[in-house]
Symmetry: C2
Subunit: 128 residues, 2 copies
Amino acid sequence: MPPPDRPDEAGRFAFDGLDRVLHEKKRLGILTSLLAHRDGLVFNELKELCTLTDGNLNRHLAALQEDGLVEIWKGMNGRRPQTLVRLTTVGRERFLGYLGLLEGIVHDALSAAEAAPAPQKGVGLNPA
Amino acid sequence: MPPPDRPDEAGRFAFDGLDRVLHEKKRLGILTSLLAHRDGLVFNELKELCTLTDGNLNRHLAALQEDGLVEIWKGMNGRRPQTLVRLTTVGRERFLGYLGLLEGIVHDALSAAEAAPAPQKGVGLNPA
C-alpha cells in the first residue's frame, strides 16, 4: 500500500527500453571500442581492447552481426588473413540511443540517491 | 596491426569493473527503485514499479540477497502478510559505485562518438 506522497507510476523502473542485445557488459565494451574507431578495428585489436578470447569475441560478434549492428569483413594484410569489424549505421544509431537512455537512468538513480541519503534501520517496517 | 596514432591500451574496453550481479536490466530497475525509496518498498509496489512477475522478482531478490545487497523483511499489514525490501548499506554503496562507473563509460562512449562522427564505407578496409 503506497503512501500518498509517492508519485511513482507502475512500470517507472521497468527499463524496458534497455536493449538486451546491447546491455551485456562485454558487448558494451565491443561497441564502445567500435564507436571510438569509426574505420573499424581488426579482430585482434578488438580482442585485446576488450580482453576477450577468440571464441567469446566471435560469439558476441555473431550475435551483433545477426542483429545488423556490426559488419564483418575478411581481407589480407600481406599474406595474413585479417578480419575487420565495423559498426553499421544502424548499430551506431541503436548504440547511441541505448547510451542516451542509460545516461538518463544513471542520472535519475544518482539524483534519487541524493534525495534519499541513507537507509535507516527499522523505518518503514510496520509489522502488526 | 594498430596504426601508431592509436593510444589504446589492451583491456581499455574490458569493463571488468562492471558488476555482473548489478548489470542486469531488471536488477538495475529494482536497485534504482530501492535507491529512490530509502525506507524500502513492499513486494507489490516493487513488482509494479519494475513490471515484473512474482516469480521473476523473487528470483532477482534471492540473487541480490545472496550477495548481501538487499534485505527482506516479513511483516503484517493488518491480517495480510507483507514483504518489505530494502537496500543494505553495502548494496547502496556497491550500486552507487556501479552507477559511477557506468556514468564514466557512457560519458567516454558519447565523447568517442563525437570525436569520430560517422562510419564511412570502405575506409580502413585494405584487402590485398
